[in-house]
Amino acid sequence: MLGYALRRLAATIPVMGVVALFVFSLLYLSPGDPAAVIAGDIATEEDIAKIRAKLGLDQPYLVRFGTWLVSLSQGDLGTSIFTGLPVTTLIGQRLEPTLALTLCTLIVAVALAVPLGVLAAARAGGWIDRVVMGVSVVGFSVPVFVLAYGLVLLFSIHLEWLPVQGYSPIREGFWPFLRHMILPSVALGLTYMALIARITRASMLDVLSQDYVRTAHAKGLAPGTVLVRHALKNAAVPIVTIIGIGIALLIGGVVVTETVFAIPGIGRLTVDAILRRDYPIIQGVTLLFSAVYVLVNLLVDLSYVLFDPRIRY
């Protein structure tokens, strides 16, 4: 198992290498002069030259990539053009709200979607099934920020139950933290929930038609026990897989959700960086989020052992 885990960890190195190479090469592949684009419309020749030197665009490609990789391996993501601060520092300052938002969303989405998917499969064709499938199609179709504004208009402005926007750190009280997290988590989580509920239903339907489920029913086990102990456990692998893959949705959605709700996290940092064309920040955030995505999916792979003892490494 440990050997397998290490081998899988090693296998992520080429993937991350491609990500790094791609994100790095964009500066060179993009049409036109990126230094001029970053500098903006009112920049002088001198400003552009300064930015070009800062980004290392005046040096040969391979030399620059080498230096960049070395500093990357030392945990240096470069320096922001606008603020002059190291990108790692900027990300560090913004980490907590983003972490809080993604974890809340993850918990809400999984806690709602898996039971709904199980119920939908258990009563396939029934009204729960229809509602879950209907809502999941809608979940794929309503963009995060549209749903977010819909929720804000209803719950914050019309009913005045929840704050319109903002973030309250958990150490300043759990209740204010929760009040600020409810709408963002629901908005961000709907598409993710739709995805998980659909896969849970499909995977459960597969398992429920197996002989051992009929046997379990026949020997008089309570229907709930059959569903959870026998069926859900065996249906878990695809569900866990989609929870991992869906992280990509959450990461993309975080950028938008933080903008809508004015949450001072990494997503907000990215959007501010776009407006200022602060490419080192965008580069750093892209690398970080890709690494998180790759690592989460590595953990998902390794977790299969917990659900299916037949899987041996």
Partner: protein
């Protein structure tokens, strides 16, 4: 790889394209939701094409005296903070969403198909290309598009290119897996044995069998491209502000949510309805053409 288990059906059933189209028609008729999707989509296309004749005014005309009017008989959806007619802007915004959705679906499918066909048949390329695709797929697509946009001047073409690049790896994956399955089919083996050259095999035997799954995939790509465009425009990394797009309209009205929330509502409803109609059409086609095809992320 070549041992076939007689009990299990082959994963890809070669179909005659004529019957496939007929099956598609029959199955769509069995899916009322897919029909509804098609109807809404056709309506949206009409709205986009006929935008100048739908009671709209120039969506860029600014009239500061008429700022922030609520919806009325003259301004159906009200006016924004510059006094521009929101109804006209939303109607013209249909063009952006549909253009981006269609262009990205076509570009990503065509390029992905070409790469997938070649890598599926040329083994030494396969390992390299798939590593690159794995890497690209690890970058969340919104961030990949943001990174691409940040380095180019804002334009509709750049937005389309950025979203398409993020979608290509998924098409390559699908096409490659189809090619790898089809290569084992007896009729492909027969073609290889009788000395048919690779380009001919790809064209005559492989390509026709990728049409159905690709059509479904292209529909989902279209839907997600429209969402990505709106997201990019909303965060200021998308369609330039001088073109009214649904994402732009919502971005501009962001600060107005407390006083004129309806401006945000209309483009949001149009966007969701359009994406929903494309998704419904895609689900209907998937059920009709290839029930085993899992829903793409």
């Amino acid at each position: 790889m070549a041992e076939a288990n007689p009990a299990s059906p082959p994963v890809v059933t070669p179909v005659n394209s004529g019957t496939a189209w007929r099956r598609l028609g029959a199955a769509l008729r069995r899916h009322p939701t897919a029909i509804a999707g098609a109807v809404v989509l056709v309506l949206m296309v009409l709205v986009a094409v006929l935008a100048p004749w739908l009671g709209t005014v120039d969506p860029l005309t600014v009239s500061p005296v008429k700022r922030l009017k609520p919806p009325s008989a003259q301004y159906w959806f009200g006016t924004d903070m510059l006094g521009r007619d929101v109804y006209s802007r939303v109607i013209y915004g249909t063009r952006v969403s549909l253009t981006v959705g269609l262009a990205v679906a076509l570009a990503a499918t065509a390029i992905g198909l070409a790469i997938g066909l070649v890598t599926g048949f040329v083994r030494w390329l396969d390992a390299i290309v798939m590593r690159v695709m794995d890497g690209l797929m690890s970058i969340p697509s919104v961030l990949l598009a943001i990174a691409l946009i940040a380095l180019t001047k804002a334009s509709l073409t750049n937005v389309i290119a950025a979203i398409a690049i993020a979608e290509i790896p998924r098409v390559v994956r699908l096409v490659r897996s189809l090619v790898l399955q089809l290569r084992e089919q007896p009729y492909v083996e027969a073609a290889v044995a009788s000395g048919t050259r690779v380009p001919m095999i790809l064209l005559r035997h492989i390509l026709p069998n990728t049409v159905a799954p690709l059509l479904v995939q292209a529909t989902y790509i279209c839907a997600s491209a429209m969402i990505t465009e709106a997201i990019l425009s909303f965060i200021g990394a998308g369609t330039p502000p001088n073109i009214p797009s649904w994402g732009n309209i919502m971005a501009e009205s962001r600060s107005l949510i407390q006083i004129a929330g309806t401006i945000l509502l209309f483009p949001g409803i149009f966007l969701s309805l359009t994406v929903l109609s494309v998704n419904l059409l895609g689900d209907g086609m998937r059920d009709a053409l290839d029930p085993r095809l899992a829903r793409r992320l």
